[in-house]
């Protein structure tokens, strides 16, 4: 029975009309669910811009906040590159066995949902019990500097991961050739290696910038009402509307204004980064090689590696994991742990939100794979021609570029016109829009790495398209599919900005943590039963679950690989 069904599917897979229908459906769904709704959503509310035009003070606040978003994003992404490249260098070029451990540690902040990360940083840098104890006052007070440190912390692993990948793919022969021509190691890197991996450096910078621009939940925590960037401004306006401080018109006007500026400015900046980045040439610099020779060898390399490690350990890793401390304190204190696991009091809402987060992430991941896989094949195999592939490839990047809160707001405006859409479905659409590009990108890159000759060889041996996929493409790309799935899942579990924008009743885990932290800090009305210990434990549990899910997925991947 099963083999009969398999034969039928195999036969169907070689029918061109069916194949093209599948690809076309993937394209239509991408436009209908991901690209067009936010555009229409924001356009339907353009009229509300009049409201903010009447309120110059609010408009100036919005502009200031958006400006701060871009400045922080651009500066943080540059700092990420500055610190991330030496660490990636150490990971890929070092000879110690411990570097594989370092490689894994570099991924850790990835799995910490940003809301928990924000609280962790707040505790480490600003609260008593953290590093501030050494100085008797907050080492870094909540505000723009802490926001920058936070953004650096969560975008740093993105840069390291991208650069490590690029360095592993890089043909060392070029650098060796440069050395034999008389270039010291640093000169060889500057004049040969970096220009060759420049597209990856630009991609790393872009992704770090996009992460910084989009992040909402953790920023809201560490900004603590004393600093506004774009997403925090939009969230603040939303809170003011909910508390009745401002009217719906002002809220919509301010939100549409901020979203439009964020979207348009992001697109312009991304195009500029691409254009300027591609034209940017590192100069040979007369005399520079002599200086570089002095710092290329033992002492220079040792200093560089030590600084890279110190930055990673003391600015990224330890602050990210610092929340474990109050989590352990909570476990040791009274019956907080028992209450947590029995779901007593406020913990019932925690478990509900955690279930919602993972349920939502699972649905989004499955949908992402189902819808993203045909699109990835379409782009990598250029099924509809080179031009269309390039256009689609560019379009799928848009949701990465657009700040997630702006995307969420636009989607909400669109779907609020369609009655009867359940809030869970709204959340699915929002998370799908945000995570879809990550899966397609990772998958199409993996597909491009497959030698087409292998697929053609299978076809000449009589395999139908479905069999080719099952026996050739899948075994080679399954690791990438699962990696893509992990990125989608963790991104969805972490997502706060778009969730806050589209959901009014449902509360995901990061949103709950943002609310709890703000309750503890007194920036919103206190929530009964929420104490610093409960927040610490909730963050600890969220991180623990993220670790466990990631571990299971990694083990599955490893098992599958064998």
């Amino acid at each position: 029975m099963l083999s009969k069904a398999s034969n039928t599917l195999n036969r169907l897979s070689s029918k061109k009309p069916l194949k093209y229908t599948l690809y076309l459906s993937a394209v239509i769904i991408f436009f209908a669910l991901i690209l067009i709704p936010p555009i229409i959503g924001i356009l339907t509310k353009v009229g509300s811009l009049e409201r903010i035009a009447d309120n110059p003070e609010l408009m100036n606040t919005a502009l200031g906040a958006i400006g701060a978003s871009f400045i922080i994003g651009l500066v943080v992404a540059a700092l990420d590159l500055l610190a991330g490249v030496p660490l990636a260098w150490l990971i890929t070029r070092g000879k110690s066995r411990w570097l594989t451990v370092l490689d894994t540690l570099a991924d850790l902040p990835f799995v910490v949902p940003t809301a928990a990360l924000g609280y962790s940083l707040l505790l480490f840098w600003s609260s008593s019990g953290g590093i501030s104890d050494l100085f008797g006052q907050p080492f870094i007070s909540p505000g723009w500097l802490l926001v920058m440190v936070l953004h650096f912390t969560f975008s740093f692993p993105v840069v390291v991961r991208v650069v490590v990948g690029a360095m592993l793919d890089y043909k060392m022969e070029y650098e060796r050739a440069s050395r034999t021509l008389g270039a010291p190691p640093l000169t060889a890197s500057r004049t040969v290696t970096f220009p060759i991996i420049k597209p990856s450096l630009i991609a790393a910078y872009t992704l770090a910038f996009a992460r910084s621009l989009s992040e909402t939940g953790a920023t809201f925590i560490v900004a603590a009402g004393v600093f506004l960037n774009g997403p925090v401004f939009m969230q603040t306006v939303s809170n003011q509307f909910k508390s009745g401080t401002i009217t719906q018109g002002t809220y919509e006007g301010a939100t549409v204004f901020a979203s439009l500026i964020l979207i348009v400015a992001s697109l312009i900046i991304f195009v500029l980064i691409r254009v300027v980045g591609q034209r940017l040439k590192l100069p040979f610099g007369h005399g520079l090689p002599t200086f570089e020779k002095k710092i290329s060898y033992k002492t220079g390399a040792w200093t560089r590696n030590s600084i890279a490690l110190a930055v990673f350990l003391f600015i990224v890793l330890i602050p990210s994991m610092f929340v474990a401390l109050p989590a352990f304190q909570a476990i040791a204190t009274g019956n907080t742990l028992v209450e947590a696991f029995t779901g007593a009091g406020i913990w019932a809402s925690f478990w509900q939100s955690l279930t919602l987060s993972y349920g939502l992430a699972a649905v989004v991941t499955v949908l992402g794979i189902a819808l993203g896989l045909p699109m990835a094949i379409l782009i990598s195999r250029k099924t509809f021609g080179k031009w269309l592939s390039t256009i689609l490839d560019t379009l799928i990047n848009i949701p990465i570029i657009v700040p997630s809160i702006a995307l969420g707001v636009s989607l909400k405006f669109f779907w609020s016109n369609v009655s009867g859409v359940p809030e869970f479905l709204l959340l699915v659409f929002a998370h799908l829009a945000i995570t879809y590009p990550y899966f397609v990108r990772s998958m199409s890159a993996a597909m491009e790495r497959i030698n087409v000759d292998m697929e053609e060889a299978a076809k000449t041996l009589g395999a139908k398209p479905l069999t080719v996929f099952r026996t050739i493409v899948w075994p080679i790309t399954k690791y990438s599919i699962l990696s893509g799935a992990i990125i989608v899942l963790t991104r969805s579990v972490s997502e706060t900005g778009a969730t806050l924008a589209v959901a009014t009743k449902l509360q995901t885990a990061p949103v709950l943590i943002v609310n709890w932290v703000n309750s503890v800090r007194g920036t919103i009305a206190p929530i009964e039963g929420v104490t610093p210990l409960t927040v610490g434990l909730a963050c600890g549990l969220l991180i623990l679950f993220s670790f466990l899910v990631l571990l299971v997925l990694r083990l599955l991947t490893r098992k599958e690989k064998l």
Partner: protein, 367 residues
């Protein structure tokens, strides 16, 4: 220009010896080839000399200077990679100027050097093209020009002709030698192609399994191989197995299978009754029609003929069952047909007698 000296060099990968206590001296201005099958350690040795990998033991000298602890940029070498490794983000011209620039020459000086080396490699077109837009031959010339422009005193070439088609390869190999000689460079050329090595080298080191088996001029290696491996690897040899049944001065009588008897010169003083292998080159043999009783005659039947242009190659099944190959000039005599009985003779001074290898013949000649 420098002499290159490698003393007792060891390189291990795990437990495997890529180079097993290798020593050799390459003379000043010599064009020297490292020849051997894949995995014999020739590229490893070249990379050690260049400083691209570190040895696990031994010493390397370029000129009078010990360099095995120096980075590649301080060794005054030029390295031509098999893949050329032209920088893809630079034009051909920028690739050539790379060395002078990183060595802090001023722009005018760098350009003068660039023009000089391009004249030397006879390339003055498409200099603004990127490597991906150049033909294999052009990329090869740019790679050599780049190495020369950097002021190399020792030119290291790692299978530099491997990526080129046969015709271009034949032309360029002589040009590389001419350039090295004109500039009075010491050149070390790695190849697995014995014809290439024979045609351009002053001397060749034949390598196998991380060791140097023989060093000599092409003629020495061809005429006087010191081992069965060299006899088999350099040119082509028929390997005939037998036992020494009589010794008379330097002449040994050898009995092959089925009682077939021939003679050989016993250069290695192999003892009576020892098992031996006689290496006879196909091109040194004569062939007559019919089975004739002559001294050092091997009777057999033609099984296959192959026309190879300048020569015709005959595969003969000897009457004792052994297979024997001979080649004859294609235009100088009439061709012999398949199925015809023939008698093969050879000059004994051109056949080489070796003791039967301890590990067996196939292991000895395996590449």
């Amino acid at each position: 220009m420098p002499e290159v000296k490698v003393v007792n060099v060891v390189k291990k990968y795990g437990k495997l010896y890529a180079l097993d206590h290798v020593s050799l001296t390459i003379h000043d201005q010599e064009y020297f080839s490292l020849l051997g099958p894949s995995g014999c350690g020739k590229t490893t040795l070249l990379r050690l000399i260049a400083g691209l990998i570190d040895p696990d033991g031994g010493e390397i000298y370029i000129g009078n200077r010990r360099v095995d602890k120096d980075p590649p940029e301080d060794r005054d070498i030029g390295f031509v990679f098999q893949t050329f490794a032209l920088f893809p983000h630079m034009t051909a011209w920028s690739n050539v100027l790379y060395g002078p620039k990183v060595k802090n020459y001023d722009a005018k000086q760098a350009e003068t050097i660039g023009h000089e080396v391009l004249e030397l490699v006879k390339l003055n077109e498409r200099l603004n093209a990127y490597p991906s837009e150049l033909s294999g031959g052009m990329m090869q010339r740019i790679a050599v020009a780049r190495a020369l422009a950097a002021g190399a005193k020792t030119l290291l070439l790692d299978e530099p002709l491997g990526q080129l088609d046969a015709k271009v390869r034949n032309d360029i190999r002589y040009e590389i030698r001419r350039m090295a000689k004109d500039l009075k460079l010491t050149a070390i050329h790695v190849t697995h192609d014995q014809a290439e090595a024979m045609s351009i080298s002053d001397r060749i080191a034949v390598m196998k399994k991380g060791k140097i088996i023989q060093i000599g001029t092409p003629k020495e290696l061809y005429m006087h191989p010191n081992s069965l491996f060299v006899a088999f690897f350099i040119g082509e040899s028929n390997l005939v197995e037998g036992y020494i049944t009589a010794l008379e001065g330097k002449t040994a009588s050898i009995e092959l299978r089925q009682g077939l008897k021939i003679n050989a010169i016993n250069e290695r003083d192999i003892k009576l009754n020892e098992r031996v292998v006689l290496a006879i080159r196909p091109e040194t043999c004569e062939m007559k029609s019919g089975h004739i009783k002559v001294e050092n005659g091997l009777q057999g039947k033609i099984e296959k003929t192959t026309f190879e242009g300048t020569v015709v190659r005959y595969e003969v099944r000897l009457i004792n069952g052994d297979r024997f190959v001979i080649s004859r000039p294609s235009l100088a005599e009439e061709w012999v047909s398949v199925g015809q009985d023939v008698t093969i003779t050879y000059p004994i001074e051109k056949a080489h007698l070796f003791p039967y290898p301890e590990n067996g013949l196939s292991d000895e000649i395996s590449v």
